[in-house]
């Protein structure tokens, strides 16, 4: 089992039961990493929509359709390139000059990633010290949008999952960019 899904499971087990019920508020996660390479080099690793296959430890395979055009899609297969669970995503915005792109999840099994209405942006900027800052941020809702969400489909599960996914990706990006000098 991949480290990402393992940490997901740990997060879900550790989530305490909450008596409070939650309303329809959107959740936000923003994470970044600083890497000791020029922004152009960082962007070169990230710029293709299907490059996530290279830089995310949980993604075993990415099947893309439409390259980096607005509306392009990608299907991620997690863990096993043939039989692993899938996530379908669509490219919403792409700016080569600004070194960023924005996408949304169009289909995912809530048991795999417990989020709904998820949209996200990755972007690279100059950190002002000769290196790069890579930021991954997303907005989403929990899966169970009733007033008393089930455990595993509540705000904590959603936020925990996305935190784990971002941490895993950014860590591997740093290793890939700084490791092979």
């Amino acid at each position: 089992m991949s480290k990402i899904l393992k940490s997901l499971a740990v997060v879900l087990l550790l989530t305490p039961a909450l008596a409070l019920a939650h309303g329809p508020s959107r959740l936000k996660v923003e994470k970044s990493v600083e890497v000791n390479v020029p922004p152009a080099k960082a962007w070169a690793l990230l710029k293709d929509f299907c490059a996530i296959e290279k830089w995310h430890p949980a993604v075993a395979k990415c099947t893309g359709n439409g390259g980096n055009e607005i509306g392009a899609t990608r299907q991620l297969r997690l863990n096993d390139p043939n039989t692993g669970p899938t996530i379908d995503e669509k490219l919403l915005k792409y700016d080569d000059a600004k070194m960023s792109y924005k996408y949304m999840i169009t289909k995912v099994d809530p048991a795999v990633v417990p989020v709904s209405n998820y949209a996200s942006e990755i972007h690279v900027e100059d950190d002002g010290k000769g290196g790069s800052k890579i930021t991954w941020k997303g907005g989403f809702y929990r899966v169970d949008q009733t007033n008393n969400p089930k455990k595993g489909q509540d705000d904590e599960a959603a936020t925990g999952a996305i935190n784990g996914i971002y941490d895993g990706g950014l860590a591997k990006i740093k290793t890939l960019l700084e490791g092979g000098k």
Binding site: G23, S25, R26, L92, A119, K137
Partner: protein, 316 residues
């Protein structure tokens, strides 16, 4: 004895806040606060702590009161702008979200997302006096300028409900696009606009015939809209692509798509008509769009998760 409403109005007229340049009351859902933004000085001048996860806001046209919904706190916070403090918190339903104030200042209507009904609050007594049912997941709510009608989007029924405000009798249900959220009434009351979240469109509805006259495509996950009557344009926030679509209402075509800072949501024309204010949930700021140049003139920092869902600027 002075009638409570007259007392509020008198106090208001004697205070500078009712006469000064407009203020925006921006709900920051991530901080549980409201940023009070002075739109003449282009800066936030106060941060007021409200209830849990505030979203909707309705400010009286004379800036005597601001009302905020706290969907997680299950309440409405009542703000007195003269002292910039919450003076009352009214428990309302299970998930109060959309909120609108009758043009006279009373009553206040709150749409409850979970209870599928509208709460009617007497603003003099600060108490719920009545409820009436509507469709599934009511979201946007707006009065016409005379307060004779109130419009409610039923997000999960894909329609717009029209109510008479005398007895809250439902006059019509109009099919819109998928998942209508914000509803906007044109300043002349003749046209209604719904932002349809799940099919990326705006429904344009004639308020007299109560029929959809046009459906205009915008971008991903539109939230709300605002009319600029001087230029006959509609501005629509598209949450997932961080843009605002500008529609020319003479042709019903999108004439420009502007980049804004991040997850734009609440949107409103500034009194005087020179700028359109856009609240950004990820950008944590107001982006001010110049209505002549259709460019962002400046941005004003607000709090975490700014939404400003409703009519959030006064005096107007």
């Amino acid at each position: 004895m002075i009638h409570p409403k007259a007392a509020v109005l008198t106090a208001c007229l004697l205070s500078s806040h009712c006469l000064a340049a407009p203020f925006a009351y921006v709900t920051n859902q991530g901080d549980n606060t409201v940023s009070v933004v002075d739109l003449a000085r282009n800066k936030s001048i106060a941060t007021i702590t409200v209830g849990e996860k505030p979203a909707g806001v309705a400010v009286a046209a004379d800036n005597s009161r601001a009302y905020v919904t706290n969907p997680v706190g299950r309440s409405v916070s009542v703000i007195d702008p003269a002292i910039q403090k919450v003076i009352a918190t009214i428990p309302v339903g299970s998930g109060p979200l959309g909120i609108a104030l009758h043009p006279s200042g009373n009553p206040l209507l709150v749409a409850d997302w979970y209870d599928d009904k509208i709460f009617v609050i007497d603003t003099a007594r600060l108490a719920v006096i009545k409820t009436f049912p509507t469709g599934k997941s009511p979201s946007g709510i707006a009065f016409d300028s005379k307060g004779t009608r109130v419009y409610v989007t039923n997000r999960d029924d894909n329609n717009l409900a029209v109510f008479d405000t005398k007895n809250y009798k439902q006059l019509a249900l109009i099919a819109t696009g998928k998942a209508p959220f914000g509803v906007t009434v044109s300043p002349d009351d003749k046209t209604l606009y719904t932002a349809n979240v799940q099919n990326n469109s705006v429904s344009i509805i004639d308020a007299a015939t109560l029929k959809v006259t046009a459906t205009v495509g915008v971008q991903e996950f539109p939230y709300a809209s605002a009319v600029d009557p001087a230029h006959q344009r509609l501005f629509v926030t598209n949450q997932h692509v961080d843009t605002v679509s500008v529609i020319d209402l003479k042709t019903n075509h999108v004439i420009k798509t502007l980049d804004v800072s991040g997850y734009p949501e609440g949107i409103m024309l500034e009194p005087g008509g020179k700028r359109i204010a856009v609240a950004n949930w990820f950008g944590d700021q107001l982006d001010m769009i110049d209505t002549e140049t259709l460019e962002i003139a400046r941005s004003i920092k607000t709090g975490n998760g700014s939404r400003a869902f409703g009519l959030f600027i006064a005096p107007r």
